[in-house]
């Protein structure tokens, strides 16, 4: 490695020297470009601009299409077009000329051609295909500059499918004598790695060579690839740690050539890159971390130089020190470093210091204590972004004891915040900490939520109000505590509505309606009529939209029991029964009918509180009969909206893709019309299932759908990454001001203290309330004995209980044991002696056992599962855990897969609390790979997967695969598989990246093996057809197989075995000869001719597909051996 630095880089600009005075500032104001630019600078209004550009575009179009235009002029035209696009006016007619210019131009003209291609087109643009040949030619050019240009464009954008065409050429350039070519080749490969990692897998050892290149530029470029690869798989590159450390050491010691210096700091960006790599390698790895301590120490020491760029390096260094396995001495130095940052008068440094601190307190909350006064000052900083970053920091150190103060600070910021995105983000955070750490104080919680709803307005994520309502409805505690909270909420909302609800946001009004509808009976002192009148007030609000109004109507339906309100109700019903809005009209009808029939109402809307979740048949299977009848009567099969769209789109768009690529879409959209047998229950429930999404949506928050799987799909009720918020102190101008708010919290005490009290003291007080509970015993004793505030909300996660504890459900468990992870977390907080293992929910252990002990059996074995959930559960009660899991997961199979044979569900990979399983489903016309993602953690997990295979074409069936899995939830990905190249076993490999709510994202690899047989389907045809096809096929193979003996008709018996095991179709048997046909999905026939000869079966296979006969023969052999 040392030769990296030994070698001086004098040769670098060898391509040419820099002495020529560049053709700068040739202000050719007489040229067209010149006058155009002059025109632009003289613009005074948008209108003029538009006029000028339209003129210009017309002129460019005119000139570009003229055959006499020289390449030199074309170059100028392109620059003008770039200007137009830069100002926002599309110049799409130029795109083809840009490609032409890249092809035909020379030197700078060519470069401008490539440049405009890069600026005009995106990676998926069809025209890019036209560039492939030009790139190929330039890569082979003897002119280094042209090679350079080609490599540059390739590393910017290149059609993914065409990478194999140029890959060998680019690879070859890795050994080119010129550094610049090698460097650019490495960057091009980096790009390939990003777009199609599998394509460059075979060159990984060449990357190592690039890392050891004698030219620092090439080495730097290779670091990009390594950073990426190490991020995906840190384990695989631990052996390189020493090399990275050596490189960093040499860079820090200034051994690189001078021109790598920036303001006399040696190669700063390279240092930053290396530090990032080191922190990835050293994370959770003591021995690897050990190798880097020395160089990190050195880096920290070099920090004395007073320049921004050294601080940028320091920041990265501090992050690294706190990411890798800790070493006390280094931590101390890093902490000191952060201190210098945050105390700096320079605002940019302060900002970066706060950012570092925010990162660091997650590892070591005590550090916040050291800087508490600075943090307090930053809270009042005049620059909003500093304030914002400080709140981010506070958010990280929130605990049960300081939550009220921190939330207050956040709400204060929210009140002044103008920016929608910030509001959204912050509201989410307020909600999260308020729910997580709420002290045992209903008033505080409800008031905080009220303020948050008012401030967050309609910007907030819909899951915040949903979570809040869920919390209220499911309760958290004993019945009494729940009652109190609900009662308090009702009190609060009644007084709000009695005031002036006019400026409350829609979401808040909806929450209010729901709570009043559900729980107003807790206020025995209030007549239902009063509540009705309050709700009726909402209907009259000018700004209430129809969604809010229907919430209000729903609420009224729930409370309308007494006679008293009838008059009001009738008026309302009449008004809304003729509304233009169908939902509103329906609600009004419901209200009208139910209010007249008290008995029916009591049945439909039972009062409170039984926590029994409603069972909802999400597949709407009770409609199957109706659907079948309709279909039999000639109705068109239902197609989901997106399918119809796809079909429409397909008709319009000219497909440039090879046939195989368009298959998945075609398949999913065609599969329904293909099925002509409407009586298949699975088909019809699949069909009607699609439509349920919509019908449920409207009433989403009022139905308890916990038991229902999949209905909530993607847009459902997201788990609470962004939980609800809780302002404690409400300012006078707040619409939810409540009168009796006196200083319950330290912060309000400081506000009420006389103004003469020194500001400093105030701040200290604030500090003590902010940083309480952050760590050490000493700090706690300073504050006095700080009681561990009992956690208020131990949410019962019913979804988890019901979906995972299959088999041991007691039917009357009205209040399931609170074993959600929320609770887990707080019990750990409260009592650090609690062993988290012991409180892990039992099902999780099942999952682990499955992974350790569950041995995937022969992948050929298939398992018929019963399509209904009921029998699935019955089986679960009696069978061992592995089967339980299998069947549990099997119930998540997509509706259209139920009924089809599927393979055993086998574990793929797992990461922390997320487990992936997979099975393949044999459908008549395709093979579907189903991946189950089971998330047993308490937080949402974001996942992205890339599946790839050399032998199989993998395409995702759904338009947008699920990217988020909620807590204790199972999601399903479906891929349709088609064979690209037959082989005995086909392997699909994949890469999943997990983004947990906490912790850094990481990735896992997996592979899934399928036998070729899964792709074989019978092919029904006549003997004549067989004959014609036989002659047309070119790939064949012959072999003798063993015949089944000891039966009357050995040939028939043998063929029957093959037919059964391999899904072949026996076309005809004549005497001692038999013909058999099958197809490989999709539509690739394979024919087999068998003849009994001398006690063996002489088999002759023919197909259009190479390798298919051989592979099939192998399986025939095995099938007969096993028999």
């Amino acid at each position: 490695m040392s030769d990296v630095v030994e070698k001086t880089l004098t040769a670098l600009p060898s391509l040419l020297s820099l002495d020529s005075q560049p053709g700068a500032a040739k202000l050719s104001s007489t040229s067209k470009l010149g006058s155009f630019i002059r025109g632009i600078t003289e613009l005074t209004s948008k209108h003029e601009e538009e006029k000028l550009i339209q003129q210009e575009l017309a002129a460019i179009k005119d000139q570009a299409s003229s055959p006499n235009t020289s390449m030199r002029q074309m170059k100028e035209l392109m620059v003008r077009a770039i200007y137009c696009e830069m100002l926002g006016y599309e110049a799409s007619f130029c795109y083809i000329h840009a490609i032409k210019l890249a092809q035909q131009g020379t030197a700078l003209e060519k470069r401008v051609g490539y440049l405009s291609v890069a600026l005009f087109l995106n990676e998926s643009h069809e025209l890019l295909l036209l560039l492939v040949n030009t790139v190929l030619k330039d890569l082979q050019s003897t002119n280094l500059i042209e090679v350079c240009m080609a490599l540059t464009i390739v590393s910017q954008l290149f059609p993914k499918d065409m990478i194999p065409a140029i890959l060998p050429l680019v690879e070859e350039k890795l050994t080119h004598p010129k550094e610049i070519i090698r460097r650019k080749a490495v960057l091009a490969l980096y790009k390939f790695y990003l777009t199609a990692p599998n394509q460059v897998q075979h060159i990984h050892n060449k990357f190592r060579k690039a890392l050891c290149d004698k030219d620092p530029g090439v080495m730097t470029a290779s670091l990009h690839i390594y950073l990426q690869m190490i991020k995906e798989n840190p384990e695989g590159y631990k052996d390189l740690t020493g090399s990275f450390v050596t490189i960093l050491k040499q860079v820090v010691a200034g051994k690189l050539p001078m021109d790598y210096n920036y303001h006399s700091v040696p190669a700063p960006w390279l240092q930053i890159q290396l530090l990032r790599i080191l922190s990835l390698l050293g994370k959770n790895d003591e021995s690897t971390s050990g190798i880097m301590y020395e160089v990190l120490d050195e880096s920290l020491r070099r920090a004395e130089m007073n320049h921004n760029i050294t601080y940028a390096i320091l920041y990265e260094c501090v992050k690294c020190v706190y990411t890798i396995h800790p070493k006390a001495e280094l931590l101390e130095k890093a902490a000191k470093c952060i201190g210098n940052f945050v105390l700096s008068p320079k605002i940019n440094l302060k900002y970066i210091g706060l950012k570092a601190l925010t990162y660091v307190v997650q590892q070591d909350p005590q550090l916040a204590l050291q800087h508490q006064m600075t943090i307090i000052e930053c809270l009042d900083h005049s620059d909003l972004i500093i304030k914002r970053e400080t709140l981010e920091l506070l958010f990280r150190i929130t605990n049960a004891q300081n939550v009220t103060v921190i939330v207050e600070k956040m709400l204060e910021f929210l009140r002044t915040c103008q920016d929608d995105y910030t509001t959204m983000d912050l509201v989410g955070k307020v909600a999260e900490v308020a729910e997580k750490y709420a002290p045992n104080d209903n008033k505080w919680f409800i008031d905080t939520m009220n303020t948050m709803f008012s401030l967050g307005g309609d910007l907030m994520q819909p899951d915040i109000p949903n979570n809040f309502l869920k919390l209220l409805s499911e309760g958290f505690d004993s019945g009494e505590g729940d009652r109190k909270l609900r009662r308090f909420a009702v009190d609060s909302y009644v007084s709000l509505l009695q005031g002036e609800p006019g400026n409350l946001p829609q979401r808040f009004l909806q929450v209010i309606s729901w709570v009043l509808g559900e729980y107003s009976h807790l206020r025995t002192d209030l007549e239902p009529a009063t509540i009705l009148n309050l709700l009726a007030k909402l209907l009259d609000l000018k700004h209430a939209n129809s969604e809010t109004k229907s919430w209000a109507l729903m609420a009224m339906t729930k409370v309308c029991e007494s006679e008293a309100g009838m008059a009001v109700l009738q008026g309302i019903c009449e008004m809304h029964c003729s509304s233009m809005d169908t939902v509103l009209r329906q609600r009004a009808q419901e209200l009208q009918n139910l209010s007249l029939h008290a008995e029916l109402r009591a049945k439909v809307l039972p009062q409170d509180i039984s926590m029994e979740p409603l069972e909802v048949d999400s597949s709407l299977s009770f409609l199957d009969e109706f659907v079948s009848e309709a279909l039999a009567a000639g109705a068109a099969p239902y197609k989901a909206h997106h399918q119809r769209q796809e079909e429409l789109a397909q008709e319009k768009v000219l497909s440039l893709e090879p046939y195989s690529l368009s298959l998945p879409i075609g398949m999913s959209s065609c599969s329904f019309p293909d099925r002509q047998s409407p009586t298949l229950p699975s088909v019809s429930s699949g069909l009607s299932g699609d439509s349920t999404d919509f019908s449920h949506k409207a009433s989403a928050t009022t139905l308890k759908l916990d038991k229902v799987k999949r209905v909530w799909g993607r847009e459902g009720y997201l788990a609470k990454k962004e939980p609800a918020e809780e302002p404690a102190l409400i300012e006078a101008h707040s619409p939810v001001h409540s009168a009796d708010q006196v200083g319950e919290f330290s912060i309000s005490q400081s506000q009420t203290s006389p103004p003469t009290v020194a500001a400093k003291q105030e701040k200290q007080q604030l500090a003590s309330s902010l940083f309480v509970g952050l760590g050490s015993q000493t700090s706690e004793s300073l504050m006095g004995k700080s009681e561990l505030t009992p956690q208020m909300f131990r949410r019962k996660d019913k979804g988890q209980v019901s979906s995972l504890e299959v088999g041991k459900q007691t039917p009357n468990s009205v209040i399931p044991p609170p074993n959600s992870v929320d609770n887990l977390l707080c019990s750990i907080l409260l009592d650090s002696n609690t062993d988290p293992e012991t409180s892990l929910p039992a099902p999780k252990q099942n999952g682990i056992a499955l992974l350790e002990g569950g041995q995937p059996e022969s992948d050929m074995k298939t398992l018929e599962t019963s399509p209904t959930r009921d029998s699935g559960r019955m089986a679960a009660e009696t069978e061992e855990p592995v089967r339980t899991k299998d069947i549990c997961l099997a119930s998540y199979l997509p509706a259209d897969c139920i009924g089809a044979t599927h393979s055993e569900i086998t574990p793929l990979c797992s990461s922390q609390s997320v487990d992936l399983f997979a099975c393949h489903v044999h459908k008549e016309d395709c093979l579907v790979l189903v991946v189950f993602i089971s998330n047993s953690s308490a937080t949402r997990v974001r996942l992205l997967a890339q599946l790839d295979s050399e032998e199989v074409e993998v395409s995702c069936i759904c338009e947008s695969p699920v990217e988020e899995v909620r807590s204790h939830y199972v999601e399903v990905w479906q891929y349709s598989l088609t064979v690209k190249r037959p082989s005995v076993h086909l392997v699909v490999s994949g890469l999943v990246s997990f983004h947990m709510a906490t912790g850094t994202p990481h990735t896992a690899k997996f592979s899934y093996k399928l036998p070729l047989i899964s792709f074989i389907r019978p092919l029904t045809l006549s003997t004549e057809e067989y004959g014609t096809m036989w002659l047309a096929f070119s790939h064949d193979t012959k072999q003798n197989l063993t015949l089944i003996t000891g039966v009357q008709d050995p040939l028939r018996a043998t063929l029957n075995v093959l037919e059964r095991k391999l899904h072949l179709h026996v076309v005809e048997i004549i005497g001692m000869e038999g013909i058999v046909a099958c197809q490989l999905l999709q539509d690739q026939p394979c024919l087999m001719h068998c003849r009994v000869h001398a006690g063996t079966l002489a088999v002759w296979l023919r197909s259009t597909v190479p390798d298919l006969p051989d592979c099939l023969l192998y399986h025939c052999q095995r099938a007969l051996q096993e028999h």
């Binding site: 670098l12 600009p13 040419l16 020297s17 820099l18 020529s20 560049p22 053709g23 700068a24 500032a25 040739k26 010149g34 600078t41 003289e42 613009l43 005074t44 620059v79 770039i82 696009e85 830069m86 100002l87 926002g88 030197a107 470069r111 440049l115 600026l119 500059i145 350079c148 240009m149 540059t152 910017q156 610049i180 460097r183 960057l187 530029g217 730097t220 990009h224 021109d259 190669a267 700063p268 960006w269 930053i272 320049h307 921004n308 760029i309 940028a312 390096i313 990265e316 320079k346 605002i347 940019n348 302060k350 900002y351 970066i352 620059d383 972004i385 914002r388 995105y421 992205l944 990246s993």
Partner: protein
């Protein structure tokens, strides 16, 4: 921190370029949806775009490293410029904007603004801008706004050498300039 490096100068007097009326730039809400939707890797720290804008809000150069529709760009740029122009000298050079951050630096009447993802190192990008301007200065020998306008293609070529796909790929000034000077030489001969 000393700033000895040559600052970008405007060869014409300020004001020679007529001011566009402020009301022409209407603040518009643009969500950079595309930023979140690209492939797996794009969530990794990176630069999402770089802009050069003058004080009147006119774009002098723009380069996007993630797909943003042409129609959205104008609105986005206007929004971004508004964000940066409203900052005072003593305020932070980093601004939060939607779900990413802006890092900007002012050279005479020209602002250079970079959009970065949240996990990128702001300070290093801030210095990268200085490096970029120093490279331009070296090539154009005392660069001005007009140099950039009349040599847009060359500025892009320089930028392409420094940043690719949103990642910083080269910072050595001579390496950055060598391909371009080679081209100029070829054109001259």
């Amino acid at each position: 921190m000393k700033n000895e490096l040559p600052k970008l100068e405007i060869s014409e007097k300020e004001g020679a370029i007529p001011k566009r009326k402020c009301c022409d730039i209407k603040p518009q809400k643009v969500l950079l949806n595309a930023v979140n939707q690209s492939a797996l890797w794009s969530s990794w720290r990176m630069i999402t775009f770089i802009l050069m804008v003058n004080r009147q809000g006119q774009t002098r150069l723009s380069r996007y490293y993630q797909p943003v529709k042409l129609s959205q760009r104008v609105a986005l740029e206007a929004d971004v410029v508004r964000c940066c122009l409203s900052r005072k000298r003593d305020q932070c050079s980093f601004v939060e904007y939607k779900d990413f951050k802006l890092v900007f630096r002012q050279y005479a009447a020209l602002y250079i603004v970079v959009g970065i993802t949240d996990d990128e190192n702001e300070l290093s990008v801030y210095e990268l801008l200085q490096n970029f301007v120093e490279v331009l200065d070296k090539y154009f020998s005392r660069v001005s706004e007009l140099d950039i306008m009349f040599n847009l293609d060359r500025v892009h070529v320089i930028l392409d050498e420094m940043i690719q796909n949103g990642h910083i790929v080269e910072t050595n000034k001579s390496s950055i300039l060598s391909p371009l000077t080679a081209l100029d030489k070829m054109a001259d001969s």
